[in-house]
């Protein structure tokens, strides 16, 4: 397994797509986590009617305060940045498993003798190493963004405690791993990347979002919603705080601890399903 792991690390490390996705991830963190909100919060209020000026300025102040280092983890997790990171992880997972089919490289690799399960395990663990790197990059980019806001606002840079950083690292890795595992399983199922990425993104960005926002008040429906991957991602992220009111974001349905367990179970199920398929099927 170690041999397969080191082979996969070499492949992922030298693959341009890995670093393009890393760049996209950094852009998401900095632009949608900081720049966008900072610009919105700094819009001049002179043109607004007098009654709304104070309200807008208070909102802007609240937004800017949310971007400061002390709120780093809340901003990254609660405002959905790591949720978006899940979509990027899904693409990376799909590419890791699915490209081998397109290039026909499975036969070249497997005839070198790693064994199918070791080959697949090596992929999964190498993928997790790169996802950990993505989490660290995300946290570092977020820290840089929040520090820049502190400098611009002339505010003190007070950082969350180290144990919270450690928790964020674990939670971020869990979120990205689960979504990457979905991409990995879909790519294994469909023997390629295109359909896996298309369906995975359609599910995460369109179907789950729509289901979450549907104004249905029913215990059965809420139970169903509580099983969704996106819902559990948001619920886990809510450990760091709750979403700002008034933006139409529904309250999380699941306790963060239960959401963590659910995500871990999903990740295991996706990987086991991929392993089951990969071990049994013809690869010619």
């Amino acid at each position: 397994m170690l041999a397969s792991f080191t082979a996969e690390v070499l492949k992922l490390g030298k693959r341009p797509a890995t670093w393009v996705l890393a760049l996209v991830w950094l852009t998401v963190v900095l632009v949608f986590g900081y720049l966008f909100f900072y610009l919105i919060s700094s819009v001049p209020t002179e043109s607004l009617p007098e009654g709304q000026q104070a309200q807008q300025e208070a909102l802007g102040e609240q937004l800017r305060r949310g971007l400061l280092p002390e709120n780093l983890l809340e901003n990254l997790f609660v405002n959905g940045i790591f949720g978006t990171g899940g979509s990027i992880a899904l693409i990376l997972g799909a590419l890791t498993a699915g490209s081998e089919y397109g290039w026909g490289t499975l036969k070249t690799g497997l005839t070198q003798r790693p064994g199918r399960l070791a080959f697949l395990s090596g992929k999964v663990f190498a993928l997790m190493v790169f996802l950990l790197l993505f989490v660290l990059l995300g946290l570092a980019a977020g820290a840089a963004g929040s520090y820049a806001v502190a400098l611009l606002e002339d505010a003190a840079a007070r950082w969350p405690p180290l144990e919270e950083f450690a928790r964020a690292l674990g939670m971020g890795l869990l979120i990205l791993t689960t979504w990457a595992s979905l991409g990995f399983a879909l790519a294994t199922l469909f023997r390629g990347t295109a359909l896996a990425i298309g369906l995975g993104l359609a599910w995460s960005l369109a179907v789950e979002s729509t289901l979450t926002l549907l104004p249905v008040e029913s215990a059965v429906y809420e139970t169903f919603r509580g099983l969704l991957l996106g819902e559990n991602t948001a619920s886990l992220a809510s450990y760091f705080g709750s979403a700002p009111q008034g933006f139409g974001v529904p309250e999380p349905l699941v306790e963060p601890e239960r959401a963590a367990v659910a995500l871990a179970v999903y990740a295991v199920v996706f990987v086991v399903a991929a392993a089951f398929l990969f071990r049994r099927r013809d690869l010619g």
Binding site: A7, L10, K11, K14, G104, T108, L110, Q112, G115, A118
Partner: protein, 300 residues
């Protein structure tokens, strides 16, 4: 050279729905030989090789490769393979591709440069695989197959798509690789290639092994070729000879279906009858003739 089989299949069968790609194949490849696996396109050669490498599972029958189950890591330890077209990671260089394969194989990194030298690709090792010509890709495929210094080398159409120079280079390489104790199973539909390289040949058609033997043995057909004048009288006389089962006239020659050991007797009878005999030799067919005869109308 030991005669022990390194590869054996018994009743090996692969069906895809109603299509039978390989049908009850019994194949034995012995240690140290270069075995040509010959058949028209779609005859089941690649499917057979993929079953031998554990890439696809047989529907029925069994196979042992170096005494182990096909595809088992222990068995593959001493097997090198190039199946169909060479497939590598396009964004990696030739050397990095081999480094990846060496890690999968558990072989030391130093082997990478050794096999690059063997296939004469050291000078282009830093280039990305996607920039390689077809000939270079094939050579990289052979290099990957050689990483483990394998006892058994399985090569599927290694000269496919190569220009004449590339084919000649590849044949030279394969001859070199087939020397000594190494066993080579070479699948091909190129008869010249097989004729020049292989010790023994198996011919597969519609998934079934329809002939097996040495190249010389397959080409040989009991008979004599005779050039005599006048030809018509020689043919009539030959038909009356005891032990001659059939006489054909073609290209100014008589082909007599008889034991080639009777050449002196045939010669004596023709000369005694006042005929001029200018040529008399055992009949031999080209491998292409044998192949076309065995595989019927199918294209090579």
């Amino acid at each position: 050279m030991s005669n022990a089989p390194v590869l054996e299949t018994r009743g090996l069968t692969k069906r895809y729905g109603s299509v039978t790609a390989v049908d009850g194949l019994d194949l034995t490849v012995r240690r140290g030989e270069v075995y040509g696996f010959l058949g028209p396109n779609g005859a089941g050669k690649s499917t057979t090789l993929k079953m031998l490498l554990g890439l696809i599972r047989p529907t029925a029958g069994s196979a042992r490769v170096l005494g182990r189950e096909p595809g088992s890591p222990d068995g593959l330890k001493a097997v090198g393979a190039l199946v169909e077209s060479p497939a590598f990671y396009p964004y990696l260089s030739g050397r990095d591709n081999l480094r990846v394969m060496a890690r999968y194989a558990g072989t030391p990194r130093s082997r990478v440069d050794e096999v690059l030298r063997t296939v004469e690709l050291s000078g282009r090792a830093k280039d990305r695989f996607k920039r390689y010509s077809l000939g270079m890709k094939q050579r990289l495929g052979v290099a990957a197959a050689l990483l483990k210094d394998p006892e058994l080398l399985i090569l599927d159409e290694p000269t496919n798509g190569l220009d004449p120079k590339g084919m000649s280079d590849m044949r030279r390489l394969l001859k070199r690789l087939g020397r000594g104790e190494r066993t080579v199973l070479l699948s091909s539909h190129l008869l010249g290639e097989v004729e020049q390289i292989c010790d023994r040949v198996g011919v597969i058609r519609r998934g079934r092994l329809i002939a097996e033997g040495t190249v010389a043995g397959l080409r040989e057909r009991p008979g004599l070729l005779v050039r005599a004048e006048p030809l018509r009288e020689a043919a009539e006389l030959a038909r009356r000879m005891a032990g001659v089962e059939e006489v054909e006239v073609a290209d100014g020659l008589l082909r007599l279906a008889t034991d080639p050991g009777r050449a002196a007797e045939v010669n004596r009878k023709l000369v005694s009858a006042g005929l001029d005999v200018s040529e008399l030799r055992p009949a031999e067919r080209s491998l292409e003739e044998v192949f076309l005869e065995l595989t019927g109308e199918e294209t090579v």
